[in-house]
Structure formats: C-alpha cells, structure tokens
Amino acid sequence: MSARFSVGEPVTVRAAFPTPPCHIRTPFYIRGKTGKVERICGEFRNPEQLAFGNYAADVIPLYRVRFDQARVWPGYDGNPKDTIEVEIFEHWLEPAPGDR
C-alpha cells in the first residue's frame, strides 16, 4: 500500500462524529482542522477494527500531522508559532489544496 499524502502536504481532518459502539483514535478537538503532514509513520492495523477483536484488521498508513495551535483553538492566547502534532490514520484525512 502506498501513502496517499506526502510530507508537507496540507490536509484536513474529516469532521466525522461516529457514535458508540466505536473506537476512534482521532481526537474530537482535531476533527475538521487543517494542518500539514509532518511525517509518514508507517502502516499499522486499523485500531477501529482491532478494538472489536478483528485481528486481521486492514493495514493502513498512519501520518503525523502538524497543526498551528491558533487554528485549532478559538482564542488561543499562546505564541502564534505554537503547534500541536497528532497521529492520524489515512481514512480520516482529506486533501486541503487551497491551504498551501
């Protein structure tokens, strides 16, 4: 499997809000936010399937995405350069071509 996104590419986290039963590793606070791919971490089994005992879960690319804190939190009052990095699986990401 090859990774859909490359390092430095702008991506937006899907604004999806599944309800239980589910096991989601994409934190609530980062859904709908746009950042840039910092690194491709590799390929790992999908925890959303592993969590329900499916040990043959899909192997999918995992990314490290860097976000500007000022764009994550309304009214963020730290240094405007402050950042946050989150690991996000590929199916949670969409291209954000207008955000170069």
């Binding site: 590793r25 994409t26 934190p27 606070y29 980062i30 971490c41 590799g42 790992f44 925890p47 995992l62 490290r64 860097r66 804190q69 939190w73 963020y76 730290g78 240094n79 350069k81 402050d82 950042t83 946050i84 990095e85 989150v86 690991e87 996000i88 699986f89």
Partner: protein, 217 residues
C-alpha cells in the same frame, strides 16, 4: 511510575504472587476481588501460570527513566548518535544500548532555544514505558490529558516550568502507534561532563517535556 524499586519488588523474591493472602497494604474492594478472581480463573484455564505473572511484573519493574537518561546523555555528547536517534529513535536505541526488545516505534524530539516539546495522550495514557518506566499518576490524570493540548504554558507553569514567550511550544498527542521521548536542552555549565554525570541530571519529567534540566549550581 518510573521511580526506584520499592517494597513490593522485594516480595517477588518469594513465591508470593498468586494465591497469596491479601496483605494489609493492599486494598480490599470489589475490583481487587474481581482482579483476583480473573487471575485465578485464567491460571486454572491454562492461559498463564503464577510464575508468568511474577516474571512479567519483574520485567516491567526493570524499566525506568535511567535508560531514557542514558539515551539523552549520549545524544548530548555524540552528534552521530543524536542524528540517528532523531531520524529513527527505536532503531538507534536498539543498535546502541543493551536493552529488551522495544515494542513500539519511538519518535524522539529535541528541545532547542526555539522549540520546547511536551508529550501527552489525550485519549488514554500512551507512554514510552520501555525508555521511561511506568507513567506517573499526573500523566494519566484528567487534568493533564484535558488541558495541556490547549494551554500548554499554563500547565507547564503548574509544574514550575516557565517557557519563554518567544519559544514555540510543540505539543505531541500520542494518539496511535508512536511513542515520544523528549531530548531536553543541555544546560549551561556542563561542558566537559561525561555521559554518566550528564545522565544523572536528566529526570523523567524533562523527558516528557513538563520540566527543563536546570543549570547545575
């Protein structure tokens, strides 16, 4: 919980781990009974033996921030190792140190004059146990998990750590398969120190990023 060994560790020398009477020091509530029942039943059904549990406890007990501190001291003194460590943390550690197999991929991030890194797991409490030992309670607390992503400077101040306004704070949320180790800034006044002396001033909290290594008095 990467502290020094403590009283319970000594008990492991004896065949104390299973079917032992609950000692006065141990709590005695419904969840402890549930844990005892689960362990007994799984042993009876052959999933593991009492010795397996004892050995696993000992293996995890052996983990402590001492390895993390050695890694940091080596990175401070050996530019070639530092480069390998930042490029591929797990590989560099396995190639360099005599250590047990590392279970997860490790991302190593470095504090500089421009950037301060701090690590959290907002969803549960993922932590690099193999280089730092078990996590401290505050790392698992709801206060830390909820707040450090949104107000890192305020949270660090509660640890007594003041990060200059002009440095970037970079928060790392351990949400999936990576674990994170911070290489703190080497303090002034340590020129010429050997690795062992340097490792001696690197604490757990500096490798999570909630503290900085102070300049030696």
């Amino acid at each position: 919980m990467p502290h020094d060994p403590h009283e319970h560790d000594h008990a492991h020398d004896h065949d104390h781990d299973d079917h032992a009477p609950v000692t006065e020091a141990e709590p005695n509530g419904p969840y402890q009974h549930l844990a005892n029942a689960t362990r007994e039943l799984l042993i009876e059904k052959g999933y593991f033996g009492p010795d397996d549990i004892r050995r696993m406890i000992e293996r995890i007990d052996e983990r402590s921030p001492a390895l993390g501190a050695k890694i940091v001291a080596r990175a401070w003194t050996d530019p070639e190792f530092r480069a390998r460590l930042l490029a591929s943390g797990r590989q560099a550690i396995e190639d360099t140190f005599d250590t047990d197999v590392i279970a997860a991929d490790l991302v190593v991030v470095e504090n500089t004059d421009a950037i301060h890194n701090v690590v959290v797991c907002t969803l549960c409490s993922c932590y690099p146990v193999f280089v730092l030992g078990r996590p401290p309670d505050w790392y698992k607390s709801y206060a830390y998990r909820s707040r450090v992503v949104r107000e890192p400077r305020a949270v660090l101040r509660e640890f007594g750590t003041q990060i200059a306004d002009d440095r970037e704070i970079r928060v790392h949320d351990s949400t999936a398969d990576m674990r994170y180790l911070v290489v703190p800034k080497r303090p002034e006044g340590t020129d010429g120190w050997d690795e062992e002396a340097l490792a001696g001033i690197v604490t757990r909290d500096t490798m999570v990023g909630v503290a900085e290594v102070p300049t030696p008095a």
